[in-house]
Amino acid sequence: MPQLNMAQALNLALREEMSRDERVVVLGEDVGRRGGVFLITEGLYELFGPERVIDTPLSEAGIIGVAAGMAMNGLRPVAEIQFADFIFGGFDQIVSNVAKIRYRTGGQFSVPLTIRAPVGGGVKGGMFHSQSPEAYFIHTPGLKVVTPSTPSDAKGLLISSIRDDDPVLFFEPKRIYRTFREEVPEGDYTVPLGVARVAREGSDVSLITYAATVHDCLRAAEKAEVEGISCEVVDLRTLLPFDKDAVERTVKKTGRPVIVHEAPKMCGFGAELAAFIAERLLFDLEAPVLRVTGYDTPFPFVHEHHYMPNESRILNAIRKAASF
């Protein structure tokens, strides 16, 4: 198996799916000749030509609208939004159209569309190139929302998303595109949507997280271990639908959940998780459900490392949960 970083793993997934299924097309700003600003689609234009790898004008509503039409007419488009921050230009297309086509047509049409977009901070992108907009979309039935944290998951989840018959928002944590490599299975490798993974076993505190903060949690968990606190780290991988059984298992095991994500706290994905726990698992709790998140302000350019849930903020929450 090759050692790949996340960017390479995503590129491999696209290459393999485009080779396997000629209905798969890629479109977006600069995805063709340029290979994408983060080079995720590098080489696809040369391999599959301009009919299947399409450079679009700068119009997010246009990209998603066109992709929805393609999907309803038999193709399996993978549309790229250059930064997830720009996805709001296509919000109406996603929420009012794409998400509702299956329902509105009584199941006569589905929209097998994948929308890829890089998310998250840590790259000095400022407030318009650092946001994590997943919570804007988990409130919309009909969508799936997926976000990987490792190269092999990136490949396996992207392939599953492309093969899924419903629209999938695929959020790629850009700050870990190239930070580490791991063995990534070649060929027909899929990771099922809606299934979390336990990234680290532990018994005292559950860190429930996804995307880039999985790695911050793993580092915080190592430090907590030195202090005698054993942390379990659950990587959700899919946010809509999220793996309720996995959340239930870890909360029943430790009774002390800490939720970690980069997006603002108010009504972030952590709110949904905490509310789910308060509804279903209240009597399994030994401590309040804590959330370590971005703050309720726009994403700051200068202070991004304070804004994002860094190791020390996570560690403080671990201590608070463990000592409650």
């Binding site: 709001f88 929420v95 804007y136 809509l240």
Partner: protein
């Protein structure tokens, strides 16, 4: 204070009229708001009184409406722009989330953005999946916006006046069901003759009780009040907390109520996952954890788009009956 009965629509109209008389920088625009007086008559006769320079019909382009409102606000006016259905705010989402909400931060506080976007959601009127959505929860991740959703004529008037005078962008969400459905608590009610304001960011305890807290917003307040009446007959005293302002949220009032009742039901006109009810529940679970004697219950729509058929829509919506059933289980 002398009061009279006004409908929700009349109270809103009066708020606009008073603020336009008081301050000539207040202007109103949107689709059909001028000559037609708004499709729901909220802007009725404003054109007649204030003329076409201050009351403007726009083309059907939500991006242009919100974009123009941002420009007007940046340049010293106090625009009140109308988006006919909350669903259509989605088209102008980038204007709201990327521009309006961040302008104060982007400029280091050098500019303020005193704009109000009025809109309404029509759940309960059989308008189908693209004309009924209550999208407020999807905007709570955009710090910098204020989101207000009144449930009675009194609140509608006082909150709209405060929103217009606020120096930050306010999304003012009205309920289309409260415009027209006479059976609702929030359709008609007492409104003082004298001028008054209601501060943003303050919830209101609409009914006092000890046994359970029902947090509701907009149309669901009417359902919660009806439920509280029915529960009273069963000997259960429900406290009804109307959020009124969703962002910033008045956590203090919610927490104080839960500390008293130890039980929480949240009723919201949207799907459960990622809803406002999630934020309320998660906050209580973090800051009033030791006071909870029963699991928190979220009452929302099922996880699907709103159906158009009225019988299905009735089943889809949060109702007094559903609240009564949930509370009855909870207090056992």
């Amino acid at each position: 204070m002398a009061t009279r009965e006004l409908t929700y629509v009349e109270a809103l109209n009066e708020a606009l009229r008073e603020e336009m008389r008081r301050d000539d920088s207040v202007i109103v625009f949107g689709e059909e708001v001028a000559a037609a007086g708004g499709v729901y008559k909220v802007t009725k006769d404003l054109l007649k009184e204030f003329g076409p320079k201050r009351v403007l019909d726009t083309p059907i382009s939500e991006i242009a409406i919100v974009g123009a409102a941002i420009g007007a606000a940046l340049n010293g006016l106090r625009p009140v722009a109308e988006i006919m259905f909350f669903d259509f705010v989605g088209i102008a989402f980038d204007q709201l989330v990327t521009h309006a909400s961040k302008m104060r931060f982007m400029s280091g506080g050098q500019v303020k953005l005193p704009l109000v976007i009025r809109t309404q959601y029509s759940l309960g009127r059989s308008y189908g999946s693209q004309h009924t959505q209550f999208l407020a929860a999807s905007l709570l991740q955009a710090p910098g916006l204020k989101i207000v959703a009144p449930a009675t004529p009194y609140d509608a008037k006082g909150l709209l006046k405060s929103s217009i005078r606020d120096d930050d962008p306010v999304l003012f969400v009205e309920s289309g069901a409260l415009y027209v459905n006479r059976s609702y608590y929030g359709y008609r009610g007492p409104v003082p003759e004298e001028e008054y304001l209601i501060p943003l960011g303050k919830a209101d305890v609409k009914r006092v009780g000890d046994d359970v807290t029902i947090v509701a917003v907009s149309r669901t307040v009417s359902e919660a009040m009806a439920a509280a009446n029915q529960l009273e007959e069963k000997g259960v005293k429900a406290e009804v907390v109307d959020l009124r302002t969703i962002m910033p949220m008045d956590y203090e009032t919610i927490i104080n109520s839960v500390k008293k009742t130890n039980r929480l039901v949240v009723a919201e006109d949207s799907v459960k996952t990622g809803g406002i009810s999630a934020e309320v529940a998660s906050h209580v679970c973090e800051y009033a954890f030791e006071y909870l004697e029963a699991p928190i219950v979220r009452l929302n729509s099922p996880p699907m788009p709103a159906p158009q058929a009225s019988e299905l829509e009735k089943k889809y919506m949060v109702s007094a009956e559903k609240i009564v059933n949930a509370v009855t289980k909870l207090v056992k």
